[in-house]
């Protein structure tokens, strides 16, 4: 809501600067978003001097002027040939700027000539009526300076950001009242001449059929109005508030809407069939071509203003093209009504139209403002549109508004605010928002009709607090029982995961929970894959963000791609976040997942180390460390069947015999789909089963008392034999004193035959109660080696 200070001062005796007013309103709960001068906002409208006037032959009726703004010389083309002469100082609107008449100026080309802007008339400059004359500035005016600075013209407009509960402040009068409430600055009385309240007998018929939709309907007839352009002062006020002028009748309805917050609607009397006005539910299928040029079909929930035959207006929202006021209109009927906010809101939503009018009706208008607005408009129509006659005011008000009586006890007020405001002060404050009766320890308040937001005692507490000043309320700490539960396991786990991966050199990323359904196609998931069971957004911002993710993989791959295209060739990232699956219920199943991605090389090119590409053993190593720290006995089961992973270098991650994730190298074809021209490995883990088993406990190992001793075995094996199988076999033998076994070397190549490999294993032995002798160890080791050799058909090297 734009509030020009000049207009505001017609309603209240302002005793502060615009900045002070803004501060008072903001601290009172009506946030002032900006303080502006709309003249300045037009852009560059500056003084220029004509240096030379040329009249090229090929341009009849037009003069080409060379002008200067004191710095540069421009050419400007004008049709006001007879008004320009060298030496004259005029107002020029430069390209990129706007005029008062909402005209956006650009460089114009006529034949081979260029016009750098336009000379302004006083009207186009927004400072006077005159349209046919150019604005002539004093000869000594500083060139290049803003014409408004030169002429000493300025306006200040406050942009109020009004919360949905305060529909009453959506007008100049409302802003004045609010300012009065907050400051006690004197309001100026609003008076109307008596004759405006009378009038001839109304010759039409008005009926409220839908009393739930329309609470009050008033209106009056005006004969022989002259529909034409509004006078300058009306246009200027509309302009200050950001509205375009249309014609005097429409402008007056807008003027009153801005001034009193009362939406009005003017009908062409002769277009009202049988001069009958019915406020009713729309009939199913009824249509109306509306002022925005769109034909809409109504439902029974829509409220319309109809004549004897058809709807003319979607009540409170927008009129039809037919019944509106045009230059041919002679007689008008002016409506001022109060509609049910909920009904207006629903229609406005259903048809997706928001207008100045619907915006106010939705937020609730002042029932008493209905007549006030009508009177104000009548005054203006008589003065400006020169109506010859007018009818009495018709006022259908089947169930007059009864304001609630709200009881506020002193005790509740103090308990709520945490301190006591003196009773006198409370009473003074409440007096500003309604009628107050004070009784023993409490106040009975009947709020003014425009304050329909006040319904319950808590509303009054807010009024008292904000008028008294939030800043004056003390700052205290609550008294409460000292007790709190430990953080949830999921939060602890998340923190643990983040910290472990950070220590391993990974960066946490956060990507959108909604993804492109196409990205799942790119992953080549089969049709029955549960990750294709998607939750769709009905109104996505873009199709690329239209379904809820069921896997973190697309987000990881897209982040990798984003980085790759911006000078980052290697990456170690992870994301921890929810994925979403539909359930029988309305709500979704939202398990927490962890995704990990490795891209590019393990190190950058650097003097001490040869970079190498990340491979599956890097990923496996990180995961092993990760799960070991979490003490989760994960199994890495080769090979995964995830369609986007290279089978031979992938695992399923198994916990308690069920798959909780996967890890592996991404297929080249998939990388191509994601525009990734480098190697990528990834893993995704469902953290819900991890959470069930995770416990933050440490198994403490003591330093050994007796030394260990180790033996190495090197043997030649068939290449396809898996080291894991050998280790499993050794484990199954439960060898005495054998503490651990590790594969310390693998060699393939000459002189080893092509289908074989050389493998070295190291065995550590330790007894808990003594130092083992060499003989003992040798004996155990020899026996063990023999078993391995036989089992795996190995040869010694």
């Amino acid at each position: 809501m734009r509030v020009p200070i000049s207009w505001l001062s017609e309603f209240i005796d302002l005793k502060g600067s615009p900045e002070e007013i803004a501060e008072i309103l903001t601290m009172g709960g009506i946030e002032v978003g900006s303080i502006e001068d709309p003249y300045e906002n037009l852009g560059e409208l500056v003084a220029v001097k004509i240096l030379e006037v040329l009249e090229p032959e090929e341009l009849k009726e037009i003069a080409l002027c060379k002008v200067t703004d004191g710095k540069e010389v421009y050419t400007v083309i004008t049709t006001a040939k007879d008004q320009v002469k060298p030496g004259l100082v005029l107002g020029l609107v430069k390209p990129g700027s706007t005029t008062f008449t909402f005209q956006k100026i650009e460089i114009k080309h006529i034949k081979k000539y260029q016009s750098y802007g336009m000379f302004l008339s006083p009207y186009e400059a927004g400072i006077g009526e005159e349209k046919d004359k150019l604005l002539i500035l004093p000869e000594d005016a500083p060139l290049g300076e803003s014409i408004y600075k030169i002429l000493g013209i300025s306006e200040t407009v406050l942009e109020l950001e009004i919360t949905p509960n305060r529909g009453d402040v959506l007008s100049i009068l409302g802003a004045a009242r609010e300012l009065h409430t907050l400051t006690s600055w004197e309001l100026k009385p609003i008076k109307f001449e008596d004759y405006l309240k009378a009038g001839n007998k109304f010759k039409g018929k008005i009926e409220i059929e839908d009393k739930d939709g329309c609470f009050r309907y008033a209106g009056r007839f005006f004969a022989n109005v002259k529909v034409q352009e509004s006078p300058f002062h009306i246009q200027k006020k509309l302009w200050l508030c950001g509205l375009r002028p249309i014609n005097n009748i429409v402008d007056i309805t807008n003027y009153v809407l801005l001034e009193f917050g009362q939406p009005l609607h003017a009908f062409d009397w002769n277009k009202i069939k049988d001069h009958t006005i019915v406020i009713r539910k729309a009939k199913i299928g009824e249509k109306l071509l509306m002022l925005d040029g769109i034909e809409r079909e109504f439902t029974e929930e829509d409220l319309v203003i109809a004549d004897a035959e058809k709807p003319m207006v979607l009540a409170g929202i927008m009129g039809g093209e037919d019944s509106g006021v045009s230059e041919e209109t002679a007689h008008i009927f002016l409506e001022s009504a109060w509609f049910n906010p909920k009904r207006i809101r629903k229609s406005s939503q259903r048809h997706r139209i928001t207008t100045e009018s619907s915006y106010r009706f939705e937020r609730g208008i002042d029932p008493e403002g209905v007549i006030l607005g009508l009177l104000r408009a009548s005054e203006l129509i008589l003065e400006i549109a020169k109506a010859e006659k007018f009818s009495e005011i018709m006022d259908l008000y089947p169930k007059p508004y009864i304001a609630p009586q709200i009881l506020l006890s002193q005790k509740k007020l103090s308990k709520y605010l945490g301190f006591s405001i003196p009773l006198e002060e409370v009473e003074n404050t409440l007096n500003k928002i309604g009628w107050v009766r004070r009784s023993e320890g409490s106040f009975e308040v009947i709020p003014y009709s425009y304050r329909q937001d006040l319904k319950i005692p808590e509303d009054l507490i807010e009024e008292v607090a904000r008028i008294y000043g939030y800043e004056k309320i003390p700052t205290t700490y609550p008294k409460a029982v000292l007790y709190a539960k430990a953080p949830l396991d999921i939060i602890n786990l998340e923190n643990k995961v983040k910290n472990v991966l950070k220590s391993l050199g990974f960066f946490q990323i956060i990507t959108y929970s909604f993804i492109d359904p196409k990205s799942l196609e790119k992953l080549n998931l089969s049709h029955d894959d549960p990750r294709k069971n998607l939750i769709e957004i009905a109104n996505p911002i873009a199709s690329t963000q239209s379904v809820m993710r069921t896997t973190l993989v697309p987000g990881l791959l897209e982040t990798a791609c984003f980085n790759l295209f911006r000078e980052v060739n290697s990456l170690k990232i992870f994301e921890i976040g929810k994925v979403f699956f539909p359930t029988e219920d309305v709500l979704a199943y939202e398990p927490m997942h962890l995704g990990i991605l490795l891209m590019g090389n393990n190190t950058e090119e650097i003097w001490y180390e040869e970079p190498r590409k990340f491979d599956i053993y890097d990923l496996k190593g990180y995961l092993e460390e990760f799960f070991e720290i979490l003490k989760i006995p994960i199994q890495f089961k080769p090979y995964s069947s995830e369609p986007f992973l290279k089978k031979g270098v992938s695992f399923d991650l198994i916990l308690n015999n069920s798959k909780i994730g996967f890890a592996g190298e991404v297929k080249n074809l998939i990388l191509k789909e994601f525009d990734l021209k480098t190697n990528v490995l990834l893993a995704e883990i469902d953290l819900e089963p991890v959470l069930k088993q995770w416990e933050e406990v440490f198994k403490v190992k003591k330093p050994p008392k007796y030394p260990s001793t180790f033996r190495d075995v090197t043997c030649i094996l068939k290449r396809e034999i898996k080291i894991g199988d050998i280790l499993e076999f050794i484990k199954s033998l439960s060898v005495l004193y054998l503490e651990k076994v590790k594969c310390i070397k693998i060699y393939e190549g000459p002189p080893i035959p092509e289908d074989e490999k050389s493998v070295s294993l190291r065995f550590w032995y330790r007894a808990p109660d003594r130092t083992l002798t060499d003989e003992e160890v040798n004996e155990i080791q020899e026996d063990l080696a023999k078993k391995i050799f036989i089992k795996f058909s190995a040869k010694p090297r």
């Binding site: 601290m27 709960g29 919360t163 949905p164 509960n165 906010p341 909920k342 809101r345 308990k415 709520y416 605010l417 945490g418 319950i456 808590e458 509303d459 507490i461 807010e462 607090a465 904000r466 800043e471 309320i473 003390p474 205290t476 609550p478 409460a480 000292l482 709190a484 539960k485 953080p487 949830l488 983040k498 950070k502 220590s503 050199g505 960066f507 946490q508 990323i509 956060i510 959108y512 929970s513 939750i535 769709e536 957004i537 009905a538 109104n539 996505p540 911002i541 809820m548 982040t559 984003f562 980085n563 911006r566 980052v568 170690k572 929810k578 979403f580 539909p582 309305v586 709500l587 650097i606």
Partner: protein, 337 residues
């Protein structure tokens, strides 16, 4: 006289000793004087012609000299070895070291953790809940019926089954109150969604909801808790102010501003030249909300607040484009190590 010779020898020895500067010189010295065929041995041999008394005296003297030399040579050897190690040619230490790189936690995650820690200190419990919500929890139970214009304040994503993506973390107020009995103090961090996208708005962002319900918790307590939070987060000297505002689920409602940390309240682009930055919305829990969860408003009252993590992160780190958080460029993430 042999005794005089020995005296002379002594001074020669110690003079020469002083000049030893390397292990080889040291070795030569050792051989020359105390080796098997060394000078001292040859003197000892010369003693045999002397009287028993002199033999005894000078022999003792020579042996003592030998012992002294040995002791001091050992010392000298240590000194030389020490110096030897410094004689190696210095490396090019301008080269960078062999680094091991730490990763980083996402800045939004860090802010959430920090704020959770602040409120945990005050005895607030952390709770979490679904991101896909019903209109009832997200709006209706929070005193925002479907006809209410306040629904315009939050552009909602609808799902095809009629559920929505929660537009704020406030449904956690309802979920927690239904699940528990008062008194309670909770905070609920999490993702929220609104159909809005530009430099300042992201369709997905993060909030923290706070709720305290007790017998006597008041508006002035709300001011106290939030002031504490602001000072913990932005520094002890942070100025705060409280403005009346409107949220359907609180009454009275309030917005808290902090003095602009970018310009020190002098007025800049970030604070729209007001000197103040809006940080959060809050208020006393609306009786309609208590009604929705069957809490007796004669006994219980409370306050709630909600704050945007991105906004706090942007202010704290001087970031002017919200999209940076979700693009996850490595250079950006590395700044938060």
């Amino acid at each position: 006289m042999i005794a005089d010779e020995i005296e002379k020898l002594k001074s020669e020895i110690w003079q020469e000793f002083e000049n030893i500067d390397s292990l080889s010189e040291l070795n030569n010295f050792r051989i020359k004087y105390i080796g098997k065929k060394g000078v001292i041995t040859s003197y000892l041999k010369k003693l045999k012609d002397l009287t028993l008394e002199e033999k005894k005296r000078l022999g003792k003297e020579l042996n003592q000299l030998k012992a002294d030399i040995e002791t001091r040579l050992k010392q000298k050897e240590k000194e030389i070895l020490f110096k030897e190690e410094d004689k190696e040619v210095g490396l090019d230490l301008t080269l960078p070291g062999r680094r091991v790189f730490l990763g980083a936690i996402h800045p939004l995650s860090q802010i959430i953790d920090e704020l959770c820690a602040i409120f945990s200190r005050l005895g607030f419990e952390i709770v979490t809940g679904p991101e896909i919500e019903t209109e009832y929890y997200n709006f209706t139970a929070l005193n925002i019926p479907d006809w209410h214009p306040a629904r315009d304040m939050q552009a909602t994503f609808y799902l095809k089954n009629g559920a929505i993506l929660r537009t704020h973390t406030s449904p956690m107020q309802i979920r927690t109150m239904l699940e528990r009995v008062p008194p309670l103090r909770i905070i609920a961090p999490g993702k929220v969604y609104r159909c809005d996208a530009d430099v300042r708005h992201s369709p997905m962002f993060h909030q923290i909801e706070g709720l305290m319900v007790d017998r006597e918790v008041s508006f002035s307590d709300l001011k106290g808790i939030l002031t504490y939070f602001a000072k913990e987060t932005f520094g002890e000297k942070t100025k705060v102010r409280f403005r009346p505002s409107y949220f359907p689920f609180t009454e009275p409602s309030v917005e808290m501003d902090i003095g602009c940390v970018i310009c020190n309240s002098k007025g800049c682009r970030v604070c729209s030249y007001t000197g103040w930055l809006e940080i959060l919305g809050a208020g006393m829990v609306h009786p309609e909300v208590f009604k929705a969860v069957n809490y007796d408003t004669e006994i219980w009252q409370g306050f709630a607040f909600g704050l945007g993590i991105e906004r706090i992160a942007m202010i704290k780190y001087g970031i002017d484009d919200i999209r940076l958080f979700f693009e996850n460029h490595l250079y950006f993430l590395e700044s938060f190590k």
